[in-house]
Symmetry: C2
Subunit: 140 residues, 2 copies
DNA sequence: CTGGGTGCAAAGTATTTGCATGAAC
DNA sequence: GTTCATGCAAATACTTTGCACCCAG
């Protein structure tokens, strides 16, 4: 929990109990939508309001404590900022999981951007399909 | 315009004037949000309702006539289904443009998916940054 | 203390739905 | 003619905002 205090202060945000609860919820789930975060957070802090969740997600995305992961056909999820990775997104159950991003992708995309005089700031690589569990479930 | 008739029929949708107007609007803009589509469509068909735009986007995404491009921090845009490509997304002006996707990315991601028993159905590679125009505008 | 943060309730947007009418096939 | 689509208005869902009170620094 205390690791969050640093992250927040470095980002110019006060380390409130609410924010730490939100960060813990997201870290616990890996990736979560506003609703999922809200539900989770209520378990340990039943008076935390939905408005506070929204305000803090906005504030923390602004300061790059959190990263938005927009998902085709679903609501965006949020994750803690971490080193570059790609997402495996299950279109069946909605689960998202991280995998390392091959460095050649960075090089390729860097070139593409350069050739287009595009100033590259960030990459999102998302793979959609069926996760192992949902595949097994379908097969049976 | 008549190309759309085929696309729609093959997808099991009636070829209404509204749908063709919507498809023409999207193709004209390349990528567009619901609002942008609605505005564009009103120019040539002022009685077309927003509800119809919504219903048709849902129907056409379901049948893969359209593809949703969810964008971090903004509303999703929609594009016609076309061969694989990546997106350069300008965080300043919101423009989206397509670039070819290096085949090595396909190979890399195929492997990642395979190693995770993930049944890969689709890829989205999005690069965020500043487009050439916005860079120039900032420099001046 | 003081400024930013929280919680509530209300407002503002965005999206979906039901249903009567109308158009495609 | 049937079936599916449209347009309207109403309902719902989602997100933001204003403001009085509160807490971290």
């Amino acid at each position: 929990m205390s690791q969050y205090v640093e992250i927040l202060k470095e980002s110019g945000l006060k380390a409130t109990f609410q924010r730490m609860t939100i960060l813990a919820a997201i870290e616990g789930m890996g990736h979560a939508s506003v609703d999922e975060i809200y539900e989770k957070v209520l378990e340990s802090h039943p008076t935390l309001s939905l408005a506070t969740v929204y305000k803090n997600i906005v504030a923390m995305v602004e300061r790059a404590v959190l990263v938005e992961v927009p998902i085709s056909g679903k609501k965006s999820k949020y994750e803690l900022r971490k080193k570059e990775h790609l997402h495996l997104i299950c279109t069946e159950c909605g689960s998202v999981s991280d995998r390392p991003l091959d460095p050649t992708i960075n090089e390729d995309t860097r070139k593409v951007a350069e050739d287009s005089s595009f100033e590259l700031r960030d990459r999102q690589v998302n793979l959609y399909g069926l996760c192992g569990e949902c595949r097994s479930a379908k097969a049976s």
